[in-house]
Amino acid sequence: MSDLSKAPPGSTAHLDLDTPESQIQTYLHHGPAPPQDEKTYLDANELVLNMGPQHPSTHGVLRVILRLDGEKVLGTECIIGYLHRGVEKIAENRTYTMFNPYVDRMDYVAAISNGLGYCEAVEKLLNVQAPPRAQYIRVILAELNRLASHMLWLGTHALDIGAITPLFYTFRDREEILKIFEKYCGARLTTHAFRIGGCQYETYDGFEQDVIKFLKFVRPKIDEYEELLTTNRIWVERTRGVGVLSAADAIDFGVTGPVLRASGVQWDLRKAQPYAAYAQFDFEVPVGRNGDTYDRYIVRIAELRQSLRIIEQAVGAIPEGPIMGKVPKIMRPPVGEVYHSIEAPKGELGYFIVSDGSTQPWRVRVRPPSFVNLQALDKMVRGALVADVVAVIGTIDIVLGEVDR
């Protein structure tokens, strides 16, 4: 690149990450403003590149402004909020029961986990417990949902990097999970399967058989994904050593879920602070070593297998009994506040609910794992190549519905 002391007309070189949005807008509409001093022109080798919000590899409406030196990323800035629907404000204007379906629309590929977290948080506030049968059903569905979420992640992530085949494989297998959801509660994506105090529906005839059949079906499929990718030269080259996040950085950035575990921190809320019926099942928490994109892939594949293990133990042992606990028809939790979090497929999903004793919550705060994890993107891609940004956005596994809420 030639060393330009002054930016030529039409160049965006004088815009950088510190440029206020208003100036960028002015520039886009009216062209460059006359320079006020020499400092206005930064290093002529720097280029500001806008990525998204309409870009297939950003997994939704995420806009990233990249500051580049050639192919090298000097810094990034995420612009989010395109899907902001004010979920927390809506919660304050709905009763506890009425808000339940809204949580499905946050992380819409893991709606079951959202509902589980919300219902358990309100149950804690009401001081009631879901009966054991409901808890087993919840665990089975939540783990099936974790499988579905990880499968969707794997297919799209591999597609971003250039491997098209896994997308068809994972969507084919995820379909079987959605069929079970549909048979159980009538919906495939935004399931609204749970109620505060238990489950809405009893399992249908043949539920257990369907789940067992699915386990048998999917076990060899996970090996198939691994055959396609784990030792694939291109896959390894594109992911190993890319987007490295050390354990200390991961904790500092509050990153949770598979991203944290791939950095070598063996922490899973299902083990650390067991909820639902997780204390009764035997499973391991897979961890990575290097905290790179490859390790995050390995950790999620291992989690698929652990989820199968949990479902296998749970489905044969669903206790008999009621599926709804004793909850009042009109819920008025006593004045107080509670924070409850669960291990969603993407990390720690927390609900902080403040009750003023009325039928509507005074405040509902959702602690979204995608939002917090996305913040570490800048740390992970500094110094990497542009193509790696795509890989790293994919590996964090964000859902913009949850980032923006």
């Binding site: 904790i251 028809k329 924070y339 927390g350 005074w362 939002f371």
Partner: protein
Amino acid sequence: MADEKNDRLNPHPEKPGEAQRTGEDAPTLEQWTGATSSPQPMPQGGQAPATASPAPHPGATPLKPEEKETPKPAAHAPSKPAGPASQPWEDELVARLRARFGSGVREAGSYLGQNYLVLDPSIAYQSLALIHDEEEFEYLVDVTAVHYPERESPFEVVWILYSFAKNQRIRVKACYTEAEAAPSVVSLWATANWLEREVFDMFGIRFDGHPDLRRILLPDGWQGHPLRKDYGIIQQDQEWVKINLGIESGQ
């Protein structure tokens, strides 16, 4: 709409007549009909007057409006289920904080098994730094806020912290007025950056020492902070919508 809004601004309305209807203490059919708690005197001779039990046709509903009133006292006797009371929280961490800051630690309690601290706003940063540096709370789970418009310091900022070593979660709270700024903890936990920006965006609470305090979810030019209680559910920045979207209203 206006009444409802007022209601929401008053968080603890004492409505004496309003009984807590729960699954457990819902009045039974007998109570509703006054069969058991009827104040009517028993007629002499133990024989009911013919009018009291006229044996109407079986399909007739036994609920009469005036009889509905009678069981009310019985129904709301066990009124609101007084939730589990907040217990005092005594711990080495609390003791150390009390030794350092004295009465700056306003309250240390435990509700539903979850520990929380209420701090004086002036010592919030020092306490959080101490909790981070010396007490191994290396993971900041969340920063959020709650708006209580009727209070003197209406904005309660909540920091949720977790310690991997102790497997313990605590909540630290401090209240601020409109004019005061909360301390930024970005220097302690990098994750606070976006979380504080979101609190600023939604509540308008400023964080002193934040490197880049801008809106994050709403557009930069937006007026108002939607999670405040005086911001209506369908309210929006009309001017912003008109200028930027070219439409009259987003509704």
